[in-house]
Symmetry: C2
Subunit: 160 residues, 2 copies
């Protein structure tokens, strides 16, 4: 018997949303939203990124990210400069201010994660992370299959 509450996407989403809520509130006092933190932490890990790459890395939709970067630039957290040799792409980087801020937030993120998983054997968490990373990769390969199913249905019942 199927139960939503035992399905993998449900269990995943629930923990993700909840952790996001808690961490958002934790960093709100720094004037930073969760997407902003993700962008800064991503740039701290790999700087000088293009918009599309940053979108892939953070799983933020590209138009949303474009506007977010605009706001963060306005706040002096990142730079966004058109490349000289390829002016259709843009290079995004942390400013010193953005770097200082994210380096203040990262210890908070580390502590948050520690507290969240401290009741579990670290081996479990490590395995969990590995599986999550692998599942993410495998999703790319099943995407065409999903799209197929959509088309199959459309063909069977047009405009249904």
């Amino acid at each position: 018997m199927y139960r939503l509450t035992n399905s993998f996407p449900y269990l995943l989403n629930r923990v993700g949303v909840r952790m996001g809520e808690l961490f958002s509130r934790r960093i709100a006092g720094y004037g930073v939203t969760l997407p902003m933190y993700r962008v800064m932490a991503a740039l701290w890990e790999i700087g000088d990124q293009r918009l599309g790459d940053l979108a892939a890395m953070t799983t933020i939709e590209i138009s949303t990210l474009s506007r977010l970067i605009g706001e963060m630039k306005r706040r002096g957290l990142v730079t966004r400069t058109r490349l000289k040799d390829n002016a259709r792409t843009v290079a995004i980087n942390l400013t010193p201010k953005g770097r200082a801020l994210v380096e203040e937030l990262i210890p908070i993120a580390i502590h948050f994660e520690e507290v969240a998983v401290r009741d579990f054997p670290s081996k479990n968490i490590l395995d969990l992370k590995t599986v999550l990373a692998e599942i993410y990769e495998s999703l790319n390969s099943i995407e065409p299959e999903i799209e197929e199913a959509n088309k199959a249905r459309k063909a069977a019942r047009p405009k249904g």
Copy 2:
């Protein structure tokens, strides 16, 4: 050395968002959004729920859910009725139409999940689910601790 891309919330969120995207597209042809599916599947599992309980079950913010239920009622998928004995609460249920629809979608959800995790030993997935459920529970108990940290910071730097 900290890396965002190795942090638990990041890995979690990424898989959650991606699976959500794929499944959303899969069911879009039925005129149903992902939040709508979650509500219907939740009601299919446990019917006759109050708004607040349904919000907790689906991790949808309560005002968002209130409006969503309004739209779903308009579409004839659910009923929302004030209780006679306690008129400040409401009871939400599937209509026959809503039930029929969700029973059409559930097999799709089951198949989707199967495909998504088919490359992994089912024991791993089972363990993963267990850990996710436990972590979710444990988040409730750390919430006060997180809030404490916020207050501590506020006290140290008012309006900072």
